[in-house]
Amino acid sequence: MELTINGVQHHIDVEPDTPLLWVLRDDLKMTGTKYGCGLAQCGACTVLINGNAARSCVTPVGELGSAAITTIEAIEQDEIGQRVVAAWIRHQVPQCGYCQSGQVMAATSLLKQTPHPTDDDIRAVMVNLCRCGTYNAISAAIHDLAGDVGQEGAKK
């Protein structure tokens, strides 16, 4: 089976129903994408599939075909991803950091879809769990980028 991850083709030999998460972590040793729940509940495993946020813990690799997969390892090679990371640093978002790979991927996906997200957009889309409670820092970082990307600004 061939997978395109961060622009690189990988040949992997697994059952097609194996979740992408475990191929990334155990076969390709790309451990930036995290296991949290295995049920698409927490979002720690979020990656981009053709630019859209997806939960890799419930995504069988057999369904991926030639889709372009982006993981946190390559996030700074993505123009929007790089800005998200910069905003995460500016707003000092992470605490323990375990959920933050997924949060950064989810925010990158949101900004690709919606360059000027409102507070309601952020609340609707940023559903990944964070036990450290970095939610307000996440919102502030995304609002910052919303203003950064366009003129309107989305601040309340």
Binding site: D27, G32, L39, I89, P94, G97, L129
Partner: protein, 745 residues
């Protein structure tokens, strides 16, 4: 004995030349010990010195690289609370090195890293900064002194003529300077100066302590580069998953399909462990699927078991009733005046029972451990932990290996919250060690989220019978609280100690309100669930219980809850300032109910707490949406005496508010038939971004003795919210979480 003398030589005020010889010889190993013993250092003074000045072995902590980057071994484990950054600030301040040039790692076990004033090494109890502050400052100052000495030799000038700029030693008279990185090799082989002679900076000279210095780990944490235990891999490693017995204490009677399980794709081997069935495979996913496929007959423990057994009929709902109905005088934890007389003479007596719930840690990183036996007989274990020395000692006991043969790797923790204390039945490392031994290969074991919810330790549940006496003016003059509960320490020891478990009652005890006659007591009721420490421990529930009953007393006495607290704190300047500060922060005390700009009916409530050496007060503003409580704003003032990093304090306040809200709004661990009902986040919802209120933080540096930061902002939050809801609904609410209560009607 050799070690004790060795320590003494490093720390006591022996002549410098002897100390220096000691240090140079120390690299010769045994010879150094022989030499030191030959000096005949009196054993008693050696011990006394060794306990007096901790954390002075500079080379054990610090490595300054040729590029002047500073590698610091932190005695405190990082798990999001920001201790690595604070350590870099504190050491960097006295070393005169920018915290941004620090690489901070978790130090290995060992006496050298015991720096806390209380002689322990544990990251917990919000103790790291307040207990490590002095030692870590001294460490930085000692290292700076060594760099100055090395530069004095290099420049051939008296050390008094030298000074430092961040990362450099400067000789102003000749205009010469040299980077720390170019001095480090020589400096670190010099004797550690006598700590008693090292001068620390005056606080007004501080450049980094007290400043909102950026965290040292944010870029790595924003780009997936941090390696948590769950991410570690070593050559030849196998992956393991387990299926635990449904109830603690049960063991495997038989596995009906073990042959089929062994034949599943990728499976290396199957293993029967105490209370668990394990599958080892090439990939974790294969191991997990196979472990879950196993059809196991579990048998009940025998009558002679020493384990804490979970009975088949245990239910939290029934236990909650049992606690509420538990009558007894209890044992005194804190008394003042005469509560019997106080209640007898009171104009009005108010009685009510308040209750808390079990809660899970629910940290995002599932438990894991990696074990490897090396050819030289050493055992390496990667294990999430808050106390590496305790874990090493436990592993030594389990394996029979001497501690010298056990190497502990402490990675960054994917969430702290008290989950990584030494909980025997809630930790995968004993299983990983067994599996590594049985397979002859390194094994990384990860507990699935479902297994974690089955074995996580829980914050205790309590039912507190309150009696409060009001005088004729409606002012509380007597208060009795008897808590039917088992404390986490009592739970861990599986028995009562010689004295009461402070962690059961803190938050009922330690309140500062001037109520002349009072009594706080515990009525011990053993519970079958495994108990643990949860962020802010006893305070996480007890301040809720106390502060909501205080509001009930205020209502009964027709007092405003804010004015009443001010009255009860009238002789306490620190808490009066704190309470007024949070009211000011919220734009002035406004209880409500009132109609907000968006048309919603809202109310505000107050909570206060004195946890872990700090003081906190919070106000929450709530409304009801479709019968559910929505928290719009939280204002919190915290006084930890003084702070090292206000930005991290503010982040910790935000995090503690989130966890406090999660607890009061949503969380409750429910057991039915001896099993937890929730095995994943779908059944155990935790606070999400769309439930997070706006947060406003005020840090007060009163200059009082330094207190903790990680836990103290949490306990005031649940009562602030519930008191607001009671005001809004006109209904007295006496238990958490609010999702238990129906506000639709």
């Amino acid at each position: 004995m050799r070690n004790a003398s060795f320590d003494a030589m490093a720390m006591s005020d022996v002549p410098v030349n002897l100390s220096r010889r000691r240090f140079m010889l120390s690299s010769a190993g045994i010879a150094a010990g022989a030499f030191v013993l030959g000096l005949g250092v009196p054993q008693r003074s050696a011990r006394a010195e060794a306990t007096k000045l901790r954390g002075t072995k500079v080379p054990a902590f610090l490595e300054i690289r040729p590029d002047s980057m500073v590698r610091l071994q932190s005695p405190f484990v990082e798990g999001g609370q920001g201790t690595f950054t604070a350590m870099a600030q504190i050491v960097g301040e006295e070393l005169d090195a920018d915290p941004a040039t620090f690489v901070v790692e978790n130090a290995p076990p060992g006496d050298a890293y015991v720096v806390m004033d209380n002689g322990m090494r544990i990251t917990g109890g919000s103790m790291s900064i307040r207990n490590g502050y002095s030692a870590m400052r001294r460490l930085g100052a000692l290292a700076r002194e060594m760099l100055l000495q090395a530069a004095a030799r290099q420049f051939n000038v008296p050390v008094e003529e030298l000074t430092t700029q961040p990362g450099r030693v400067v000789h102003a008279a000749s205009g010469r300077s040299v980077a720390y990185g170019d001095l480090a090799h020589e400096a670190m082989s010099l004797p550690v100066p006598n700590p008693a002679n090292v001068k620390l900076k005056e606080p007004e000279e501080f450049r980094w302590i007290g400043a909102p210095v950026p965290r040292v780990d944010v870029h790595d944490k924003s780009t997936g580069k941090v390696v948590y235990t769950v991410d570690v891999s070593v050559e030849g490693m196998l992956h393991a998953a387990v299926q635990h017995a449904p109830r603690l204490g049960m063991t495997i009677q038989g596995v009906r399909n073990e042959d089929q399980v062994r034949a599943m794709k990728g499976v290396h081997s199957t293993h029967r462990l105490p209370g668990a069935f394990a599958v080892v495979a090439e990939r974790w996913w294969d191991a997990k699927r196979a472990a879950e496929a196993a059809l196991i007959d579990w048998q009940e423990p025998g009558p002679d078991t020493t384990m804490r057994v979970m009975p088949a009929d245990f239910s939290t709902e029934a236990f909650r009733k049992e606690l509420a109905d538990a009558h007894g005088p209890g044992e005194d934890a804190e008394t003042r005046g005469d509560v019997v007389r106080g209640l007898k003479n009171a104009h009005t007596v108010v009685e009510a029972t308040y209750a808390s719930q079990y809660v899970n840690h629910a940290q995002l990183e599932p438990p894991s451990a990696l074990a490897r036996f090396n050819p030289d007989g050493a055992l390496e274990v990667w294990v999430p932990n808050q106390a590496p020395d305790m874990f090493r000692a436990d592993i030594a006991k389990r394996t029979g290996l001497p501690v010298e043969k056990i190497i502990i790797h402490s990675q960054m923790l994917g969430g702290f919250f008290g989950r990584h204390f030494l909980y025997e039945t809630a930790s995968p490392y004993p299983q990983a060690i067994t599996l590594a031994k049985e397979t002859g290969r390194p094994v990384k074991l990860i507990w699935s989220r479902e297994e974690e919810f089955l074995r996580d330790t829980l914050r205790p549940m309590a039912a507190v019978r309150f009696r409060g006496g009001l005088d004729r003016n409606g002012i509380p003059v007597a208060l009795e609280a008897v808590s039917a509960t088992e404390g986490p320490t009592e739970g861990l020891n599986n028995k009562r100690g010689d004295r009461l478990d402070d962690s059961a009652l803190e938050g009922l005890t330690g309140k500062s309100y001037d109520i002349p006659d009072r009594r706080i007591a515990q009525h011990f009721v053993k519970s079958p669930v495994m108990l643990g420490y949860w962020r802010s421990v006893g305070n996480s529930m007890n301040d809720f219980l106390y502060e909501t009953f205080l509001d009930e007393l205020a209502d009964k006495g027709h007092q405003d809850p804010y004015e009443l607290r001010l009255h009860l704190l009238r002789d306490n300047r620190r808490l009066t300032t704190l309470l007024k500060s949070v009211a000011d922060l919220s734009g002035g005390w406004k209880r409500g109910p009132f109609t907000a700009a968006d048309g919603s009916r809202r109310a505000r409530g107050i909570g206060m707490a004195s946890p872990f050496g700090s003081e906190a007060a919070a106000i929450a503003e709530v409304s009801l949406e479709n019968g559910r409580v929505r928290v719009h704003e939280v204002w919190e003032a915290i006084d930890p005496g003084k702070v090292v990093n206000p930005a991290i304090v503010e982040a910790q306040v935000n995090g503690a508010i989130a966890l406090g809200l999660s607890q009061v709004l949503l969380e409750e661990t429910v057991y039915e038939n001896g099993m937890p009902r929730a095995r994943n986040y779908d059944g155990y919802p935790i606070l999400a971004l769309n439930q997070m209120p706006r947060v406003h933080v005020k840090i007060i540096e009163s200059g009082e003795k330094m207190g903790g930061v990680g836990e103290p902002p949490l306990p005031a939050i649940p009562p602030a919210v519930v008191n607001a809801v009671s005001t809004l609904t006109g209904r007295r609410i006496r238990s958490m979480p609010l999702s238990r209560h129906d506000f639709a009607s």
